[in-house]
């Protein structure tokens, strides 16, 4: 009985303490899976010094974030691709659309560490994903069919890859759409014939990163923060925050933090490339 009383009292005190805290403003961030860890790290650091603001970060894909922004279900959409024309029109029907580049990302082309192929030209990469090259021996590797891994259509990385590498052509019908970059890494680590594209932040020793060449004559460059920073790596893209309406108050405080030196240090720590 005494224990019960103690428990009730403790609960009451805890609840009262929670109730006493000043009202928090909440900033919702939703979108790109590529950016979700970065967003969460930025939010965590930001909330240490801004205790009255709560920043909630969730993923789902760039398309998901932009859809949520248009539907008014999030304050900031994180996106690893440009907003599409159709989405822009819908967004602008709700207010002024702001596009802010918060970081850059290099897209690494990864294979199983045992794969003898070490580099590809951009043209070969495109041909592989379009299904024109289907065997590793066509690019100097083993006699084995290429297992194509891609992110799902919800992913900004999927759309970026389709626009930028495939020049808006379709992915080969044989492409396997994976629900997350983690799933791609998982399959790459155990499938000797697979190829996949993953954000720099996801590169691990379990996979091997291929060098990329603009054409046959040029030198192969392996994706890295440095190579993206000095513009030698071709497969790089900006990462965006999209916001509808006026940027002011707590939202502005958060954005200022993200592009500040402190914010950009976090970007760098997570394997992304700072904006300056």
């Amino acid at each position: 009985m005494k224990k019960l009383l103690l428990l009730v009292l403790t609960l009451a005190v805890v609840l009262a303490a929670v109730g006493c805290q000043p009202e928090k403003t909440v900033i919702d961030i939703n979108g790109s899976d590529t950016m979700v860890n970065m967003g969460a790290a930025l939010a965590e650091e930001f909330m240490k010094t801004n205790r009255n603001i709560e920043v909630v970060v969730s993923g789902g894909g760039s398309g998901t974030g932009i859809a949520a922004l248009i539907d008014g279900k999030t304050d900031i959409a994180q996106s690893s691709r440009d907003i599409r024309e159709s989405e822009r029109t819908k967004a602008q029907a709700r207010g002024t659309l702001h596009e802010i580049v918060v970081a850059w990302d290099g897209l690494a082309i990864a294979v199983h560490p045992s794969n003898p192929v070490k580099e590809l030209t951009m043209a070969e990469l495109a041909a592989i994903y379009k299904g024109e090259l289907t065997n590793w021996n066509q690019v100097g590797g083993n006699n084995a069919s290429i297992v194509l891994l891609s992110r799902d259509t919800t992913s900004g990385t999927h759309v970026f890859f389709k626009d930028f590498v495939l020049d808006e052509a379709e992915f080969a019908p044989a492409t396997m759409m994976m629900p997350s970059t983690e799933a791609i890494v998982q399959e790459l680590a155990q499938n000797t014939n697979a190829i996949g594209y993953i954000g720099l932040g996801y590169v691990r020793p379990a996979v091997a990163v291929l060098g990329l060449k603009a054409d046959e004559a040029s030198k192969a460059v392996v994706a890295s923060v440095e190579a993206v920073l000095n513009h030698t790596y071709g497969l790089a893209r900006p990462l965006f925050f999209y916001i509808i309406g006026e940027v002011k108050g707590d939202l502005k405080t958060f954005l200022d933090f993200v592009v500040s030196a402190n914010g950009q240090k976090i970007v760098r720590d997570l394997g992304f490339v700072p904006i300056n």
Binding site: G60, G61, G63, T64, I66, A67, I70, D71, S86, E87, K90, A144, S145, V147, D152, T153, T154, H158, V159, K162, E168, E170, P173, A174, T175, M176, M177, M178, P179, A183, Q186, E187, Q190, N191, N193, A194
Partner: protein
């Protein structure tokens, strides 16, 4: 009618109303898609290109995948499930079957994402090695995991059906001098036939509707699979993977609801057949 009784009656109808409301909602969201769609290519075509311009939405590949994986799960799960149920109901000592029943019920509580993870990290590499495949993320791996996942449903329903056979049947059979084995296979199992068929159909409904596991394990190829040893994507996984991406009232949003309507219709049909089988059995008995 006392008010308690009225309350219970209302609650009963609520379930019916809710199901009807969900069906109507899905149908209403799918309607704009079907209105624009002039031919049957949605069902017969092989291309699903939601982010291309113009987009294409065709679901034959997903329907075939769902059919393949479900068939495999049921064909593999049924013999195991029904034999387990027979041993639970008729052969094992009482205290052992009580224990095993609770074990089976516990397996029903394992979240499907856990099954999916198991499939991704253990079953898929195993399948790739055994069958010498290019990738283990195939319909076969998904069907294998699903065949285990349907067991709790299958076993508990089949077990119940077998135990519902009146004891007099068995006693009459023994009185004629039959062995235990003959009694089980010639008397008890045939008498429980209706309930067993219903168990299989409900397990099938469970397999068609399973989402997370197939999303993780089946491989996610968006075209019609040539065989079960290829990567594929069932219709549930398609919806789960893409629905958050679709802005409300976009073409993709309505196309996904159209796919959902097809799925809903299939599961409703399977469950309705199961209900009819159970109902028919009651009337006959």
């Amino acid at each position: 009618m006392p008010y308690q009784q009225k309350l219970v009656t209302v609650a009963g109808y609520t379930v019916l109303l809710l199901t009807a409301a969900i069906f109507l909602f899905v149908a209403a969201q799918a309607w704009p898609f079907f209105r624009e769609q002039v031919d049957l290519s949605f069902f017969t075509g092989d291309r699903w290109l939601p982010v291309s311009s113009p987009p294409t939405f065709q679901i034959k590949g997903f329907l075939v995948s769902s059919f393949m994986i479900t068939t495999m799960a049921v064909v593999l799960g049924c013999p195991i499930g029904i034999l387990s149920a027979v041993s639970l109901a008729e052969l094992l000592p009482r205290h052992v079957s009580v224990l095993l029943r609770s074990v089976f019920e516990m397996t029903a509580g394992i979240p499907s994402v856990v099954w999916g993870f198991l499939g991704l990290t253990v079953i898929a590499p195993f399948v790739a090695r055994v069958f010498n495949l290019n990738t283990g993320l195939t319909g076969f791996s998904a069907g294998l995991v699903l065949s285990v996942m349907v067991l709790p449903t299958l076993v508990s329903l089949a077990d119940e059906a077998l135990r519902a056979v009146p004891r007099e049947y068995a006693e009459a059979s023994y009185a004629l001098g039959t062995t235990r084995w003959q009694t089980i296979w010639r008397v008890i199992v045939p008498a429980a036939r209706g309930g067993l068929v219903a168990a299989v159909l409900l397990a099938m409904g469970r397999a068609i509707g399973e989402t997370m596991t197939v999303l993780m394990v089946a491989g996610g190829r968006l075209t019609t699979p040539g065989s079960i040893f290829e990567p594929m994507r069932p219709i549930t996984a398609l919806i789960a993977a893409e629905v958050t991406n679709a802005a409300r009232h976009s073409e993709q949003y309505h196309a996904l609801f159209a796919a959902g309507l097809v799925l809903f219709t299939i599961t409703l049909a399977v469950n309705a057949i199961a209900a009819a089988v159970i109902g028919g059995k009651k009337e006959a008995g």
